[in-house]
Subunit: 351 residues, 2 copies
Amino acid sequence: MMRRMATEQRGTGTTGRVTIRDIARLAGVSVATVSRVLNDRPDVSPETRDAVMREIRANGFTTNRSARALSVGRTGLVGLTVPIIRADYFAAILAGASEALYEQEMRLVLCTTLHEHDREVSLLERLMDGATDGAIIMLPEESSEELRALQASGYPFVVADPRKPLDHGIPAVSAAHLAGAKAATDHLLGLGHRRIGHITGPRGWAATEDRISGFQASLAAAGVLPDPRLVREGDFEVPSGHVAAGSLLDLDDPPTAIFASNDNMAAGALRAARERGLRVPDDLSVVGFDDAEIAPMVTPPLTTVRQPLAELGRTAVSLLVRLLDGQRVDASRVELGTQLVVRESTAPANS
Amino acid sequence: MMRRMATEQRGTGTTGRVTIRDIARLAGVSVATVSRVLNDRPDVSPETRDAVMREIRANGFTTNRSARALSVGRTGLVGLTVPIIRADYFAAILAGASEALYEQEMRLVLCTTLHEHDREVSLLERLMDGATDGAIIMLPEESSEELRALQASGYPFVVADPRKPLDHGIPAVSAAHLAGAKAATDHLLGLGHRRIGHITGPRGWAATEDRISGFQASLAAAGVLPDPRLVREGDFEVPSGHVAAGSLLDLDDPPTAIFASNDNMAAGALRAARERGLRVPDDLSVVGFDDAEIAPMVTPPLTTVRQPLAELGRTAVSLLVRLLDGQRVDASRVELGTQLVVRESTAPANS
DNA sequence: CTGTTAGCGCATTCAC
DNA sequence: GTGAATGCGCTAACAG
């Protein structure tokens, strides 16, 4: 037999690793007992436990996750899908989720959804092919119906930062876009600005619409009439902010402040102002959204609304874990607070 | 028995999914045959293949990866460890690796190595507990010896962007730091700068030292005597660049140009210049490294050296795949080219 | 407290 | 071309 070399040599199968059986034999107990100590079961005598642990350590044994997964019916892996956009935005969420998962002894399987929405393979198939116990779906392109279907299939998942408004009943975590936008606008209003431009994200996105609502709510509360000509649509990328701000500033009666729906576009706005010889914040105030990595780095450092991105990832995990534990999470719509971060891109209106 | 409901209802085990056995029964063939069509084996008649495929589709069957993994001895998962620093830097590599893996039908398991280097659980244990077939280790804290040990254990891995110089024989992918730094310095020299400051990364890191070498090589080639007083150590974060540049600019005979070892520190340098009333690039030229997301966003847009980050991730994957296929990769030290990207933070010296 | 016995879902020899 | 039998490494009843 090849048994005697199991410790040193490639053992029985293809894996070539020490198995629970080896440990059992070495420790002079049954596999069941080894399994017990592995899983910290109470019903094992201290002596045998020690004996087993000794062999485990001596041979550097670790349990084979595939085997355990097959046996238990749980892989200990959760998928996390991300559309590859806005690197530092998703990286932050990723970091939070990954950390939280780690504490649960779980692992994160990254699935990038390039633009495969309309390909033959559905999200569902890709996720639930036995590789993962559940998933966190970031900024999904999928419609409410499609997600409903996924849900109906029994696959546990939670949406992080829903792109479109979602049916109630679909677990989701998002930031308080409306409140954040309101705070940003209030800040501008408080500085005396009355003509405030707004560069939105893609229309139809939940985040975009909520921020618009917050913007308008703030204006309304201050008794300022919203001027439709002061609103431009962007796509969350720098150039769109640049263009949008440019067209705003070239108006006969340009705004004295601009609220951009994210920091990238705010950075674009900063550039547009600079190109026109406008000084920020003296001649123009600019507020962003996200508090991305770049916010403090641009010139001048950007006043913005912080989204708790890592926290968002962590929260998604904890929701998912609850789902995985079979707890039917009812109040599964979590909204995380946002916070205004005042830096140097805003100042009192000077007219 | 509970067999009859297997298709609709939670079947036998905990998973509740359609199994290969269900398909076999439904199609009136054996599991072996189903397995054959699943794996695109040639020895199956077209008719039976069709029959099987029909049932597979009709029931939305997908193979259970855990079961396959256990059977085949391969999980189809590779781990990717990342120290959580410099978000967009690792995000870029991540994106490349993830994409490449996807094309190989493999998945990426993210493992964040907070600062667990000195914890009881070794990288080895964490990675090879049967969860993954191999790993890509980014910017490892582990020493060459530790990595050697991992290698000796037979666990396949490749290092992406080695932090410290690595033994030959350890597969690694990195960027051409030296050449990139040389190109950056050549550029400055070409603009007439002679007093050039350099803000380094953490001393001892491979990237840092290589860039210093490139910097010095360029100077030497131009016959410029290197001035040790013009070199400052940073840590790749903005504040360190800010401080370092400040101290450089406060010199009696300040440099007319600064080459920072990454874009973050270059951004810090930009700020330091601004605080002193220096205009970039008129009074001071600044060059960064990385071509990070922020490079084009700061004021002025940064001249920098582009690292092919996504490509780095992809290359790491292809190396790893070769290792997994049992091909002993010999020439396993890959260095990817870097490229100077000239923007607006550099101009001819004006003295 | 501990050992025996069955599977988990799939791939893989072998026969037929 | 196809089926029956076996095992991958582990957990989970069920006995004792």
